[in-house]
Amino acid sequence: MANNEQTHSHFPWSHVIGFALSIILTLFALWVGFESGLSNTMIVVVVVGLALIQATIQLVMFMHMTESEDSKYQTGTILYALFIAIAVVVGTIWVMSFGMSHM
């Protein structure tokens, strides 16, 4: 269970750090996309990775996913949702890719 004294009497450090990190990650993704000269596949891998990190920052530092007595269930829900997201997105692209070459 979250504790007021420890987390919330002082300067909101975790928020500020999270915010700074988000901005840095966004700009870095931009740089990777336009300036890094990586191959297209690598760009996709890196920027999607960066997006996932940034999402995790939001979930943990801003949304306090892990703070309450139900943090296990909350984290479990989000992880399961991630599994579904990957299954739906990757699966659909894979299954439909053959259809593309038909057109």
Binding site: H15, T26, V48, A51, F62, I78, M96
Partner: protein
């Protein structure tokens, strides 16, 4: 029912049974939202490139506009977090201030997005133009509609805060709406990356 099994340090929103139940339920709802947006993303990826001879995204997307939208939403997520921080220090004033800023940022985001849409439509890229633009408008539009809903919802909660002050009930509502708001930023991160950034680079 409202068993008192918390220390005085427990944030208000977790102090009632209803509070704890609703917060967990809302996390599960967010799980469902992830499934919903995943389906929209999957659709977008499959239809990517199917512009049927009409305008293509790389011609229309502009780094500057997208970055402004991104930073507006990112900052609003940060200020929303600060609002919760002040709420937990029982500072109604701080809460109002930061939520107010959050809403203002959210509204400007919406303004920019609407401007962007109108611009595209002027350039001949609308919902009905091609499969690609259908997917684009429905994905980003669903997100935008969520933002609009969020603004209206939070505004209603502000009225209730004015009427009742900080109670386990009102702080629960504020906290849950803040989860929603942060979540919309999470979705935007992926829209920024997958739709705009990759759309411009590829």
């Amino acid at each position: 029912m409202d068993a008192v099994e918390h220390s005085p340090n427990t944030p208000l929103e977790y102090q009632s049974e209803t509070g704890r139940l609703n917060i967990l339920g809302f996390w599960i709802f967010l799980g469902a939202e992830i499934a919903l947006f995943s389906t929209l993303f999957a659709t977008y990826f499959v239809l990517d490139g199917r512009t049927a001879g009409g305008p293509v995204p790389a011609e229309l997307f502009e780094v500057k506009g997208v970055l402004i939208e991104t930073f507006l939403l990112l900052t609003s997520s940060f200020t929303c977090g600060l609002a919760i921080h002040y709420m937990r220090r029982h500072s109604l004033k701080g809460l109002f201030l930061w939520i107010g800023i959050t809403l203002a940022l959210g509204l400007s985001f919406l303004g920019f997005e609407i401007y962007e849409f109108v611009h595209y439509i002027h350039e001949g890229a609308a919902l009905t133009t091609s499969a690609y633009w259908s997917a684009f408008f429905v994905l980003t539009g669903t997100h935008g509609a969520h933002v609009a809903m969020g603004i209206a919802w939070i505004a209603l909660i502000l009225i209730q805060l004015k009427q009742r002050g900080l109670t386990p009930d009102t702080s629960r509502k504020v906290f849950i709406s803040s989860l929603y708001w942060h979540f919309l930023d999470v979705v935007w991160i992926f829209i920024f990356t997958a739709v705009y950034l990759l759309g411009m680079v590829m």
